[in-house]
Amino acid sequence: MAQPIEPETGAPSAPKTGRGKLIAIVIAVLLLVAVAAVAVYYLTQPTGPTGTIKVGFTIALTGRYTVEGTNSLNGIKTAANWINTHGGITVQGKVYNLSLDYYDDQSVNTNVVSLYPQIIEQDGSQFLLAPYSTALTTAAAQFADQYNRVMMSHGGAADTIWTGTTRRNLVEVLSPASVYLKGAVDWIHTNHPTDQIAVLHENDAFSTLASDRAIAYAQSLGMSVVYNQSYPTGATDLSPQLNAAMAAGADDLLGGGHFNDGLLIMNQLKTIWTPKFVSLLVAVTEPSFQAQLQATANNVTGPSQWESSVSYGPTLAQSLGLPWYGPTPAEFTQLYGTLNAGASPSYHSAEAGGALFVLAQAIAQANSLNTTDVRAALGNMHVMNFFGQFQIASSGLQIAHSMILVQWQAGTLKVVYPADVAQASVQYPYTGS
């Protein structure tokens, strides 16, 4: 075989060799330093002191999901703070505190795959939380079964994560995507069954699933869906779609996806169409939704996993015969504010924090740190905490937590559905002001 072909660029003459050697040495030293640093970093990882239960996870602190991920992390930290200052978790007569071991997964699933083994094997986490979003939760789930650790899903809602797999150690705390818009559809069906529905949704995994299931559900109830379109993430002009939905004769608009497209839809609706009922995913629950839209936000509804004004509490739990653990929604909101410079918790904060409370309750109930015992406890539990009810099917899918429907009314966000936790009733129609 031929020798390697020399580069055409002329060979540097002798005087440059000294500088060239210097460059080479510098690069070699840099590489060595880097390797040494990595080695030192890994070798000096402290092992957790006994008396603490280590909960490990990755969370999206940067990347596509940075907002939701950061909110979730703050919720988790708030929950851990509450648990540790209110008696910790008692197992076999001994009191344990929770310690959190987390990394930034940059919203990328390849990082999830390379971090969870480290979290479990190297850092010695005994229990796990899943990352944020369906895609990352899917990538993380395999480690729960492989290493036999319980993993709580607080930010991955697609049903297929549970219905499409045989994994069982992943436990869902939040309501699955398929029921997000169910409340809205139920309300319309009960009160205005002849309304025609338009669905316009973002085509990411979560919004597509939520919207498709809503359509199927509405049609199964005999309602008519006259428009169904999706748009890519980052779309900047939805006026053609909104025009088309109106032209199709729709009365109500369901869908959306995330915050900025929800805002976009509302802004463009101002000049195009005034549906009688609007229900958008995710966007409606953010305080800045109303702050930016002012009067236009009035009477817009949206499904939510949780609001701080929701009336879950020890009394409601008792009336349903369910054990209660943890702070009330108001107490959680207050503690969150104290720890986060006055910010209020979004529902991402609540679902993540709620996951930790459920885990704590399960460990206490199992009276053991053993995965099998705790997973069994989770399977048997039907409880309530500030986030809502918790009960899972054998696959791990959440079956008792209900989505609530919220609506902006005169500048305040109110819970309007279902009736047992509502503060006010649904205002209909939407008038655009």
């Binding site: 540097p12 440059k16 880097a34 795959v113 499409g164 999706s230």
Partner: protein, 314 residues
């Protein structure tokens, strides 16, 4: 009796090949945690080698390389979930589908020179993403959730085979007659053509190979993350990382992609725990500095300025 003459292979190939063989030999004894980090690294290295075959060797900057990875990932997703194949079949299908797609794309876009090719390549993943998003057969926006068994060793050997093939092919291509033609294209394509180099065929050949390996690596990627989601699979960040890896390591070299992959991938773990949010800022700075001052990357620059290393490093 005359013994057949043994072919002479360069030290770099021995070094890289030897390390790969060693790794392959001890793999069953590597504990799961370092094994998974290794698999992750090798997936990115495989992607870097595949990009090197086109961008590194010919200078055609392909911003849209992630398309082949996504095609491979979706092939695995579809074959495992709908056709009920074993993931290895999915990886093979990924390679095959990506090969076909790359032939199709390459036949059209490789006619464009330099900047036009780069722009056309930037547009392909965007178009691809938007098309996949409306295909119900691929679960449109929802993505495909898979349920494969957890087999880090299988992942390792699959990506190992892919990399070994890439390293071998890269060496063979650059050291054979093809190597002359490729260097000619890189410095002056028109002159090369007038010398009788069949530039279109050569470019298409390299482009197709790059697509094939990226597709295979994409299949392994989907296997390890047990799912395929459109916005994740078509994420331009992968293209950016691959490009950064070969720029840093040295475009067109044998060791460059591996060095680049090690630096970018392993060092990036710092940014997940300590310097959160700064990874790409640093990568951007490094790429700018390298492109402007040492465009041959680490391997290329070392070869250029340290003559002793030229026999060893490539």
């Amino acid at each position: 009796m005359k013994l057949p003459k043994l072919p002479v292979y360069g030290p770099s190939l021995w070094g890289l090949g030897g390390s790969l063989l060693l790794l392959g030999g001890v793999a069953p004894w590597i504990p799961v945690f370092p094994l998974i980090i290794l698999v992750n690294l090798l997936i990115f290295a495989a992607l870097a080698y595949s990009l090197n075959l086109i961008t590194g060797l010919t200078g055609y900057v392909n911003f849209g390389h992630v398309v082949f990875m996504a095609v491979g990932a979706y092939s695995l997703g579809y074959s495992v979930e709908t056709l009920r194949w074993h993931p290895l079949g999915g990886v093979a299908l990924g390679a095959l589908t990506a090969l076909v797609v790359s032939l199709g794309i390459g036949a059209v876009t490789l006619r464009f020179r330099g900047v036009y090719f780069a722009i056309a390549s930037l547009v392909t993943p965007l178009a691809g993403l938007n098309i996949v998003l409306v295909l119900p057969a691929l679960d449109d926006g929802q993505g495909i959730v898979l349920n494969p068994a957890f087999e880090p060793l299988s992942w390792f050997y699959t990506i190992w085979i892919i990399i070994a093939a890439e390293v071998g092919l890269t060496y063979w291509i650059t050291h054979g007659r093809l190597g002359y033609g490729i260097r000619a294209i890189k410095s002056d394509e028109d002159a090369a053509k007038s010398l009788g180099v069949n530039a279109p065929h050569l470019k298409l050949f390299l482009f197709a190979l790059s697509g094939l390996f990226a597709g295979a690596a994409g299949g392994v990627y989907a296997w390890t993350t047990s799912g395929v989601f459109p916005y994740a699979a078509f994420d331009l960040t992968f293209s950016l990382l691959m490009l950064a890896m070969i720029v840093i390591g040295g475009m067109g070299t044998l060791l460059g992609p591996m060095i680049g992959a090690v630096i970018v991938n392993l060092l990036s773990r710092f940014f997940l725990a300590i310097f959160i949010g700064t990874q790409f800022i640093i990568i951007g700075l490094v790429v700018i500095v390298i492109a402007l001052f040492i465009p041959e990357g680490i391997v290329g620059t070392l070869r250029k300025y340290v003559p002793e290393l030229r026999r060893i490093l490539e």
